[in-house]
């Protein structure tokens, strides 16, 4: 049984109704339990919990400090290609957008990596659009090989592959996989992914499992916030995380909170998520999943990121560029989305210190992989 089968037992509407039906007493019960479980989590995500966001945040802070300490990991994305065969309506890399396309050579990717290494990064996230002609398995393996001497952890945010191909990447030195469902709402999914392989909701949904089978040490999931009701997305994320944790128990599950940002194409999010909603969702997920890694990117403003340092975040990106080659030269191509936090990695590290946390550049070692 895959996660697709599991969520077949739930319906979007029923979960929505459950969330709406929760009372303040339900929320208090969830907060007073040391293991609130899925029932408790639904209460924490309900409108009845809106007034108790401070209590949820305090609980989240306590749990995170206990489990992870007062530390924030730092990583940087490295975009290798913006070539894409999909037509995601919210994304600049949409195949229909008239932007110039660029795939870095292996040498260029290494130069970008050397720049990031120089900045202090030891964890890197390789990102590409979905185009196997531009950035296929052999290309990615060559890029990884070039980057391994520079980084202790290499993750990928590319496109779904089968177990064999992911397995090859894992053996060549990739330890983490990030793959967002974007939205767990099947109808909305269909609307915003009109063409390309990504049209297939089920295939996308089962990809984190493929990553688990392939042996990645970290598996990252996420909803693109703004596509549909964040409360319901949050419940699906929690179900998905729990499913993966129980089956791929050797892998750490991470959750990202990508909120839709302005991009080429001018897509307007149908269900905007406020700062308050984002904090609510993240802290409630922390209470439900004490061990999950929670990632916050430079999509968010310095103001919000500063305040979220003590609320449950475990890793942050810093100094990001979202266009291929953007670190070492002006590539002249469009980024995937607009960055909101433009501070340098060192400024962000200092801000983390100013909040009484330690910025951690290295929390893995390349020698884990042969």
């Amino acid at each position: 049984m895959t996660f697709y089968d599991e969520i077949g037992q739930h319906s979007w509407q029923v979960i929505e109704q459950e969330i709406l039906d929760r009372s303040p007493a339900d929320v208090e019960r969830a907060l007073s339990s040391s293991t609130p479980g899925m029932e408790g989590f639904i209460s924490l995500m309900s409108p009845a919990a809106d007034r108790m966001i401070e209590e949820i945040a305090q609980r989240a802070q306590l749990i995170t400090e206990q489990r992870f300490g007062r530390v924030i990991g730092l990583y940087a994305p490295l975009y290798v290609s913006n070539s894409c065969t999909n037509s995601c309506v919210y994304c600049s890399f949409n195949a229909d957008n008239p932007i110039s396309r660029l795939t870095l050579s292996v040498e260029q990717a290494r130069a970008e990596g050397a720049y990031l290494h120089e900045q202090g990064f030891r964890h890197v996230l390789l990102v590409s659009g979905e185009d196997q002609n531009a950035a296929g398995l052999d290309y990615l393996k060559a890029v990884v090989k070039g980057l391994r001497p520079l980084f202790d952890s290499i993750s990928i945010e590319i496109y779904p592959m089968d177990t064999d191909d992911y397995g090859e990447l894992a053996r060549s030195g990739v330890d983490g996989l990030i793959i967002y469902q974007e939205t767990y709402n099947p109808d909305r999914y269909k609307e915003v992914h009109p063409a390309g392989r990504k049209k297939d909701y089920r295939w996308r949904l089962e990809t984190p499992e493929t990553g688990g089978k392939a042996g990645f040490r970290r598996i990252g999931i996420g909803s693109l916030l703004g596509l549909s009701d964040w409360r319901i997305e949050g419940v699906y994320l929690a179900l998905h995380a729990r499913y993966l944790m129980r089956r791929y128990w050797r892998s750490q599950i991470t959750i990202s909170f990508p909120r839709l940002r302005p991009a080429v194409g001018g897509y307007c999010p149908p269900c905007p998520v406020s700062d308050r909603d984002l904090v609510h969702m993240m802290t409630a997920l922390r209470v439900f999943l004490p061990d999950a890694g929670l990632l916050l990117s430079t999509r968010e403003s310095p103001h919000l990121r500063n305040h979220m340092i003590p609320l449950g975040v475990t890793s942050m990106s810093a100094g990001s560029k979202t266009d291929p080659g953007g670190y070492t030269h002006d590539s002249g191509t469009e980024g995937q989305f607009e960055i909101s936090d433009h501070r340098s990695p060192h400024e962000i590290a200092q801000t983390i210190r100013d909040h009484g946390y330690e910025p951690v550049w290295k929390d893995w070692d390349s020698s884990f992989i042969v």
């Binding site: 206990q66 530390v71 750490q252 061990d291 009484g356 946390y357 020698s367 884990f368």
Partner: protein, 256 residues
């Protein structure tokens, strides 16, 4: 006067070992280590660059004062643990090794099968191996037979601050052991450390309870005192607890 704690070829007067994770800054860590008066400090290989003299953690651990004990945290099988350990020694990490094989990233519970496999290889390699294990008395004996320098049973899961939830098994391990027993993981308060020492443990290892305390330096000092108090009580010989006050010989007093 207490006898020293002997591990491998080293002798120690402190019975508190310290971890280096989760501190809010390397300076706080350094001050807490100092206040703890520990002599053995463990550091996760995944967190440091052993060959980099400017490494934020290592540059704050005085190697003249502390024996550095790298740990293999993050390793999920024997092969990975052995590889990490060898690289660490090649980079100047010394021969003390805290062997951790923890395939699940959430509770970080030790895998007994892979721990035995790794210990066998590393002992042949000449490491002084201190294995992190479940509180399993037979496993402890098996590791001792292979030649580990200590056994390190957990009180409760790492970082949980729950104290000694494995008391009955740890008592058996202590009773049966010929190597030092170090209670590792889960000790959340100086009273937990004192409890372990009162039970007859040879040492304890503490990290989270100190690093996430409101004042880590003061908490390190408190743990030092807890360990000393527990040790002293153990050596003094604790009275057995009784359910109610009893006359000295209610049944046989008439014989006098």
């Amino acid at each position: 006067m207490d006898k020293p704690l002997v591990i491998g070829t080293h002798s120690f007067s402190s019975r508190l070992m310290m971890g280096t994770g989760k501190f809010s800054s390397p300076e706080v860590m350094r001050d807490a280590l100092e206040a703890s008066e520990a002599e053995i400090v463990t550091v996760a290989l995944r967190r440091v660059e052993l060959d980099n003299p400017g490494d934020t953690i290592l540059s704050h651990v005085d190697r003249d004062r502390f024996v550095l004990m790298p740990n293999t945290s993050g390793a999920r099988d024997a092969e990975e643990a052995v590889r990490l350990a060898r690289l660490a020694r090649a980079a100047g990490g010394g021969s003390f090794l805290k062997l951790e094989v923890t395939p699940d990233p959430n509770y970080l519970l030790p895998d007994p099968v892979e721990t035995i496999k790794a210990a066998e290889i590393l002992i042949k390699d000449g490491f002084t191996v201190l294995p992190y294990i479940q509180a399993d008395p037979i496993l402890a004996k098996r590791l001792e037979e292979i030649g580990t320098a200590t056994v390190m049973p957990l009180g409760s899961p790492i970082g949980s601050n729950r104290g000694i939830r494995t008391r009955d098994s740890i008592e058996i391990i202590i009773e049966m052991a010929n190597v030092p027993v170090v209670v590792d993981a889960g000790l959340g308060a100086p009273s937990h450390a004192a409890e372990a020492m009162e039970m007859g443990a040879d040492a304890v290892l503490v990290n989270t309870a100190v690093s996430v305390a409101g004042n880590p330096v003061a908490m390190a000092r408190a743990f030092k005192k807890g360990v000393e108090a527990g040790r002293e009580a153990f050596l003094a010989g604790l009275g057995q607890p009784r359910k109610k006050a009893e006359a000295s010989s209610p049944l046989t007093g008439f014989l006098r």
